[in-house]
């Protein structure tokens, strides 16, 4: 008698991959023997586009690289260009940008909590998380004019001075109590724990070998948070969340704790911004941004890991080559390793716990 293994396509029609990711699994019974992620369904040519557009035309488009955390990528492009042009940001601009980035990080993590629990079959937390995220998005809409494609940062500063600080105060006073609610119904829930504890163990060495960064690596016990060395965050008191669990549950817990740290940063930034200093920023002529010939590199800590931007300029008004490094791309490749030996039932839970977002992978 001969036995064969079963090849199974998980996605792109699977609800949790919603048309943008296909995992080609090889199964022996219910055990996964190998996994081959197939990406590229959402490729928009963001890097090639940069070579055709001037810097000011390209800036509104980078929000779309990661549409759940748009501020991070516009910040990244702005910072790279500012680095090339030797522009220093004033303290007020720095505080405003930090505050918005952290609010964006919270909204991204909240969406992840909802979507992850949805993958596991719990529907209520999805709506709770979206309700809190809605407060943040409403504030962003009030400030920038749109809910996800902000286009608020400009080279050398921001579009207009920050407003509606009371809304931010309200958000950070409500959030801790809501987080307590989530923790009450999720964290110690036996069903949730059975599906997450000791599932999808990411050993630190494997994480490093696969270039994993961000929360996923920190939940495996490696202290690597680029924010600690970032000049945007200088003067802010916060801790990098390091957990030793290595499993899906730790990655969930780390994100909850990271939201709490973000709230700390926001309240410090808010205290500073309430002093009402005058906004000082250097005006740059948008029609004539030319980076001096050379190569420029900048990195920041995005919600899904280290994000970086590399620009090679030949002195023209557009990049000769622009390259994005995004955290999710590496997390997708990690599935090749992480899913092997696990059961099919756990595949979605493990893939969900890595916080993969496909626009970031495909760019």
């Amino acid at each position: 008698m001969t036995t064969t293994t079963l090849k199974l396509n998980l996605g792109p029609q699977h609800p949790s991959t919603h048309g943008v990711l296909r995992l080609l699994l090889e199964l022996d019974g219910e055990k996964i023997l190998s996994c081959e992620p197939d990406i590229g369904y959402l490729h928009r040519g963001m890097e090639k586009m940069a070579e055709k557009l001037s810097y000011i035309k390209y800036l509104p488009l980078v929000d779309r690289i990661d549409y759940l955390a748009g501020f991070f990528y516009s910040e990244l492009l702005c910072r790279t260009v500012e680095k090339a042009l030797n522009i220093e940001l004033s303290d007020r601009v720095r505080a405003i940008r930090t505050m918005l980035l952290e609010l964006n990080r919270i909204s991204s993590h909240l969406l992840w909590i909802g979507a992850f629990l949805m993958d596991l079959g719990a529907t209520s937390p999805f709506f709770y998380a979206f309700r809190e995220r809605e407060m943040i998005l409403s504030y962003f809409e009030k400030l920038t004019g749109q809910r996800m494609m902000y286009n608020y940062f400009v080279f050398g500063g921001i579009r207009k001075d920050i407003e509606f600080l009371d809304d931010v105060q309200k958000i950070i006073s409500i959030l801790p109590e809501k987080l307590h609610d989530y923790e009450r119904i999720i964290t110690e829930n036996p069903i949730f724990k059975r599906r997450c504890v000791n599932k999808g163990i990411l050993e630190p060495e494997i994480g490093l070998n696969y270039s994993i960064t961000g929360v996923n690596l920190r939940a495996s016990g490696i202290d690597y948070d680029i924010r600690k060395n970032d000049y945007l965050y200088q003067g802010f008191d916060f801790a990098a969340v390091i957990l030793q669990g290595k499993d899906s549950w730790s990655r969930y817990k780390a994100r909850i704790l990271e939201i709490k740290e973000s709230i700390k940063i926001i309240s410090q930034a808010l205290d500073y911004l309430k002093k009402n200093e005058k906004l000082e920023q250097k005006h740059i002529n948008p029609l004539n941004i030319r980076l001096p010939e050379g190569e420029y590199y900048q990195e920041i800590e995005a919600p899904r890991g280290l994000a970086s931007c590399y620009i090679k300029s030949t002195g023209e008004d557009r990049p000769y080559r622009l390259k994005w490094r995004t955290g999710s791309y590496y997390s997708v490749n990690l599935l090749r390793k992480l899913l092997v030996g696990e059961y099919l039932n756990d595949a979605i839970a493990i893939a969900g716990s890595l916080d993969i977002i496909l626009p970031e992978v495909d760019k």
């Binding site: 557009l53 001037s54 000011i56 035309k57 390209y58 800036l59 509104p60 488009l61 209520s124 709770y128 309700r131 809605e134 809409e141 009030k142 400030l143 920038t144 004019g145 749109q146 494609m149 286009n151 579009r159 609610d181 009450r184 119904i185 110690e188 829930n189 036996p190 948008p286 029609l287």
Partner: protein, 124 residues
């Protein structure tokens, strides 16, 4: 077993708490959201002097206009099929001639409705 029952009740308690709260959703299209002044909706143009900044900052090439012999701008077209509502043109316009309104229901059965014409419109 005990933990299972306890957490089920905790979960249900939270769910019941929300059962008696006001809904957070709106019955669109009967009720509509309140929009704020910064909202980036349909564009409106008035008082263009033809400096061309909007053409140079628009990422999708949605804007075009013509000039007559005296240099007066006419036939200022914004193609909503291309526009991504980034707000660059309105932000960088030195005369403040481009404004973003709160209108957002822009779907149409006719393709021509999606090309907005300002500054006297086009004759052809």
């Amino acid at each position: 077993m005990f933990i299972g029952i306890k957490s089920t009740f905790e979960g249900l308690a939270t769910v019941f708490k929300h059962l008696f709260k006001k809904p957070v959703t709106l019955e669109y299209p009967e009720k509509k959201r309140e929009l704020n002044d910064a909202f980036r909706g349909k564009l409106e143009v008035k008082g263009c002097v033809g400096c061309g900044v909007c053409l140079k900052v628009c990422p999708s090439g949605a804007i075009s206009y013509k000039k007559d012999e005296t240099g007066k701008v006419y036939c200022y077209k914004i193609d909503l099929k291309k526009c991504i509502f980034c707000g660059n043109c309105a932000y960088y316009c030195p005369k403040g001639a481009i404004k973003m309104t709160k209108e957002y229901e822009l779907a149409s059965e006719n393709k021509k409705d999606l090309i907005l014409e300002y500054e006297g419109g086009c004759n052809d």
